[in-house]
């Protein structure tokens, strides 16, 4: 079994986190949509009002990548609110580098997040998955996740900056 530790992200991890965010975006075929910078990640995650929480997976020096990376996986989450059941944990991003898969890092991260959810009195953990991402959907369904878009008909909507400016000007 590959050695690794899970720990809460620290300010020094922002460059690794951004690197992994871009790798995941590349996999989702939307790499050019990542406009976030290290500076924003630092301010938004480790400032006065954190907008997110992050857990990272780190391997010892002898297992690092050829480029010298030791942070090989991460999960970013935050707390949301459902007016029917209260606090929820929302999983925003979850990724393990390809060469470090198959050693249980993903499973350990998920377990740690669900433990956090239960400790914080969250009724459930929500997240979104692209419907073509069969591998991930299977990973989650095997662990008991329900597809609410399929079961209850929920569709995700978004209003972008331009439309928001128009709306707020009225």
């Amino acid at each position: 079994m590959e050695q690794f530790i899970l720990r809460n992200a620290e300010p020094k991890d922002v460059s690794d986190i951004l690197r992994l965010i871009k790798e995941l975006a590349k996999f989702e075929e939307m790499e050019e949509q990542v406009v976030l910078t290290e500076k924003e990640l630092l301010e938004d995650g480790f400032g006065e009002h954190p907008f997110y929480h992050c857990v990272v997976a780190e391997v010892p020096e002898e297992k690092q990548t050829p480029e010298g990376y030791r942070v090989v996986g991460f999960a970013m989450y935050y707390f949301t609110y459902d007016p029917w059941i209260g606090k929820l944990l929302y999983l925003e991003d979850f990724y393990v580098m390809k060469e470090f898969r198959g050693y249980g890092i993903g499973s350990e991260i998920l377990k740690r997040l669900s433990e956090t959810a239960v400790k914080c009195r969250c009724s459930s953990m929500h997240f979104i998955v692209a419907e073509w991402n069969k591998q991930s959907i299977e990973f989650y369904k095997r662990r008991g996740a329900a597809d609410l878009s399929h079961e209850e008909g929920w569709r995700l909507f978004e209003i972008g900056k331009q439309s928001l400016i128009k709306m707020s000007a009225k």
């Binding site: 979104i128 989650y140 662990r143 008991g144 996740a145 008909g153 900056k161 707020s168």
Partner: protein, 171 residues
């Protein structure tokens, strides 16, 4: 003035609870509502709020038959996109049926859009049930995009037993 939009106060939680149930009834899931005004007060008006809320209020002479003057609400919170940073997620938007058609829904949404601008949030996200045609049309007319349709995103959930057994496996 026909109505006003203001930030919710702790005392509004009973009205918010009432309207949450009305919206749940419309969404055909009233038995899924498990929290009351007590949790709403604790979670929205404590030292670490888990949500923000704006309410629409009418003057007393326009109150509903039961005497309610708080006739609409929007409940939202801050989220984070690893691609573009700060976002707002609009969890609930509701106006009592007898007060519709006056622009209250639009005003509540415009107020949230204003918060987005002030807090440098790049987008507003929310979910709509696929059979809810009036709401789908309302949002599309405001420039919303259906990301489930466009990009194939599905909402998944771990809850109850599944969440507990996952947590129990943690070292």
């Amino acid at each position: 003035m026909k109505y006003s939009i203001r930030s919710a106060r702790a005392q509004d939680c009973r009205d918010i609870e009432r309207m949450i149930m009305e919206l749940a009834l419309y969404e055909k899931m009233p038995d899924q509502v498990k929290i009351s005004h007590k949790e709403l007060e604790r979670d929205g008006f404590g030292p670490n709020p888990f949500y923000q809320c704006l309410v629409a209020e009418v003057p007393e002479e326009r109150s509903s038959a039961e005497g309610h003057t708080v006739v609409g609400y929007v409940l939202y919170y801050y989220t984070y996109s690893t691609w573009s940073g700060r976002c707002i997620y609009m969890e609930d938007l509701y106006v009592m049926p007898q007060f519709r058609g006056e622009g209250i829904g639009k005003a509540l949404m415009a107020s949230v859009a204003k918060v987005c601008r002030e807090q440098q949030c790049v987008r507003l996200q929310f979910s709509v049930l696929d059979w809810n045609k009036p709401s789908l049309e309302f949002y599309l007319s405001k420039g919303a995009q259906d990301l489930t349709d466009k990009e194939g995103w599905h909402l998944l959930r771990f809850d109850g037993e599944a969440l507990e057994s996952l947590a129990e496996e943690a070292p």
